[in-house]
Amino acid sequence: MQFIYSGITSGSIFALVALGFNIIYNTTGIINFAQGEFVMIGGMLIYTLLSIYGIPLFMAVPVALLLALIIGILFDKIFIKLVKVPNEINLITVTIAAATIIRGLAMVIWGRNTLNVSGYIPYSVISFPGGSLTSNSLLVIAVSLLTAFSLSLFFKKSSLGKAFRACYNDKMAASICGVDVGHIRMLAFGIAAFLGVVAGIVTAPITYVTYTDGVMVGLKGFAAAILGGLGNFWGGVAGGLLLGIFEGFFASILPSGYKDAFAFLIILFVLFLRPMGLFGKKKAERL
Amino acid sequence: MLQINQVSITFGGLKALENVSFKVPDNSITALIGPNGAGKTTLFNIITGFLKNNTGQIEFENDDITNLPPYKIFEKGIARTFQNLNVIKELSLPENLLLGIIGKDKPSALKSMLRLNSSYWNSVTERINECMVLTGIQEWQNKKVNEMPYGILKNLEMARAILSYPKLLLLDEPAAGLNNNEKEILIELVTKLKNRGITIFMVEHDMNFVSTLADNVVCLNYGRVIAKGTYQEIRNNSEVIKAYLGDTDA
């Protein structure tokens, strides 16, 4: 049973990263390979604010989130907007380049060492039937799900959120109706970075922060988004949780060396059976 | 030539086509008309194998071609053009036309790489030139594709389809987006093709165009055949009028 609890913990992080992927995918049609780097930056920012500048937590978190929005917007302005021929493959590669730059800068700024962020709430172990979770893990799950819910509310209720959804459905139509698509895309990167930084902040006490962390978490988030069906909001969340549980499950029943192979094998099988992911809709092909 | 028997298809409860039956006679021009959403393009896609019909069958030259994959249907001798242009901008006009040749002739890749069949490729060049002359696009052959007007691109697609020597040519809204001058050229071209023995089946909105060309007209509405016959017969059919008037009202 333990694998379910630990799976949900890591899965909720994958879910947040997958949401970041989905938001950018829906507004630009590309996969942002730097999404994982946002998570790493989140950890680094909170470390800097808390441990180096000694800012109290209730101030540090909003500052980090604000910085996240700025980073996301700059990301769009510097990398995405400038691309001369913004076709899919160029945009994807530019995000790979951006990820390399961010990782390189993080190494220069924060060094190669793993950094430790102390827990935000007192450490305790909470027992569940057949396993246990730490208070920090519970915080991760709670914050992730809360973030996902508030984001879905934002998309459903606010007018800005509605403009976002209009962009998902039809960019041309949205721009005709007065939605500034460029503006929305910029905000999409802002929100994606925001989500990444939230993930980075909540996980930092459990997983520590190293400048190379972004690669794996990005990859897993991508896998989660695909598993759930690219562009599908709750699909991303479900994909993340499922991936986390798969990983824990395989680690607990198989020789653990093979666990990653089996997690990916499951994703492959899902794709073979449902080429658009578990909850993805087949796009009507315009013939 | 082409026989549609009781073809039906549903999309998530919506009946897009319901028991559609009609014939496309040999060496004729048949037009499929009907208001938007009547299921014309759906039928085209079923014929060419992109959609699988739920019931019914399609016969081509007395061969059952129902639910064959698209490339097999092409091999039987059915070529088509598209509503949305499918030309490759980075390739030249003759290069774009190659698509019609490749699928038809299926030349040997190895021979082509080692340049062992140059006489064949010379004949291909000739065929392409001939076809460009036929469709009137030869003077554009050295221009970039993205500099060409829409009408030329449509002819390019037509030329590509003709290159495969089809028995049946499906045209998806050939006149859409063309000016009157271009339409006239097109009418001339389609007539020429018919005289060469190619059966033509088209989806078209432009009634002038249909009236000038079509030997037979089939009218679809809400997925059903509401009328078939010559243009004159159709024109006075009350259901057709209702369907179109209803359409214009909306």
């Binding site: 333990q2 694998f3 609890y5 630990s6 799976g7 913990t9 890591s10 190494m107 190669r112 060492n113 793993t114 430790n116 102390s118 450490y123 172990v125 396993g131 246990s132 979770l133 730490t134 996980t203 459990i206 997983t207 520590y208 190293t210 190379t212 962390d213 690669v215 794996m216 990983e247 824990g248 499950f249 680690a251 607990s252 020789p255 653990s256 060396g257 666990k259 990653d260 | -």
Partner: protein
């Protein structure tokens, strides 16, 4: 066009070598997953070379250091080794950090006839013996034996192992399995984790179901700290033992309370001040430690010690033999009783490591610091 330009540039670079000084090459993995082994090695070597040059060099000649990052990629180590030998014309090479990278260049060392002093631990580096390849890091089996002797005296027989899926974990696992057989211990669970795994509870749950007396975790980087935390979270009743891969203050900082009571084999350097005054290692270790910590403002790590030993050995050999590579090898093989950070080195023609199991001592983490478990 660009290719021609490139070749032109390569040619300009190719002709820029001179032969005035002792030329020392070094390959460390300063980026990539093994970076926190490679960094202290790099810094130590830089510090020592600078100091030596300040004090007049070796035999009056300065040392020029050529150092490259292998990024933990074996193919990169190979490339950079050829660069050191063929472009920089070095007399000897220290490194690489990782076993895999060392094995990747083992045959090149022989081909180019350049002495190589590896800082990695795998036994395969010196076995089969290659005339030009030396190893200053103690073998994994020495560390494993030290742990197993300890477990035996405590009467523990059922052991679970949890190893990293990298070269370090892999060669550790080999040693753990083979030595367990020799010493009659039962391996009841054999699990693995990846360097970037951030949750090990699944593996640990599986391990705890087998009721081992002790769990041995073999890895480097932040992952073992997570193992320690998860171990505590699951309240497993067994002794947790780590490898020398965590022998840096960073580990205690990361694992926090969860580090308490963990036992690990490590070099004496970690507890330099706590060694009895009678220990012949003490003064030299304390000196190195103080110097390193004052220069770089961070705690010393035993991995830096490898670079220290390697440099001292090569320096000794250069002093007596000069630059001639054959003489250099011979003189290194003759080094005995050199007191290094990891023990007393006794090289010979047949032993290119020169250390035994006493290279390691067992250390326990108590109150956030290293304590000597036995001397």
């Amino acid at each position: 066009m660009k290719k021609l330009l490139l070749i032109g540039m390569l040619l300009i670079f190719a002709t820029g070598s001179s032969f005035a000084e002792y030329r020392l090459g070094a390959l460390f993995s300063t980026t990539g997953p093994a970076s926190f082994l490679g960094m202290p090695e790099k810094q130590t070597l830089e510090m020592l070379v600078e100091k030596t040059n300040k004090n007049g060099g070796i035999n009056g000649e300065k040392i020029e250091l050529f150092m490259y990052d292998t990024r933990g990629v074996d193919a990169e180590a190979r490339k950079k080794f050829i660069r050191l030998v063929k472009r920089d014309n070095v007399n000897a090479v220290i490194g690489p950090t990782r076993s895999g990278s060392t094995l990747a260049i083992k045959d090149l060392a022989e081909k180019f006839q350049v002495p190589l002093l590896s800082c990695a631990s795998s036994d395969k580096i010196i076995n089969p013996l290659n005339k030009y390849v030396f190893k200053v890091a103690p073998s994994d089996k020495h560390a494993v034996r030290k742990i197993y002797f300890y477990l035996k005296t405590k009467g523990m027989e059922n052991i679970a192992i949890l190893t990293a899926q990298n070269g370090f974990g892999d060669s550790g696992r080999d040693a753990l399995l083979s030595e367990a057989e020799k010493m009659g211990l039962n391996i009841v669970a054999d699990e693995k984790f990846r360097d970037n795994d951030r949750d090990m509870t699944s593996q640990l749950t599986k391990i705890s179901e087998r009721n081992p007396d002790a769990v041995i975790c073999w890895g480097v980087g932040p992952a073992p700290a997570i193992v320690a935390k998860n171990f505590k979270q699951l309240q497993i009743e067994a002794e947790l033992i780590m490898s020398h891969g965590v022998a840096s203050k960073k580990f205690i900082e990361l694992a926090g309370d969860a580090a308490e009571g963990i036992i690990l084999p490590a070099g004496r350097l970690l507890v330099a001040e706590k060694l009895p005054d009678s220990s012949k290692f003490k003064s030299m270790l304390v000196d190195y430690k103080n110097e390193y910590e004052s220069t770089f403002g961070e705690s010393v790590s035993t991995f830096g010690g490898h670079a220290y030993d390697a440099f001292m050995i090569i320096k000794k050999a250069l002093l007596t033999a000069g630059k001639d590579k054959e003489k250099l090898i011979k003189s290194m093989e003759e080094i005995t009783d050199y007191i290094g950070t990891y023990g007393i080195f006794n090289f010979s023609k047949k032993d290119h490591n020169g250390l035994d199991k006493d290279a390691f001592i067992l250390i326990e983490i108590r109150n956030g610091d290293w304590e000597l478990l036995e001397s």
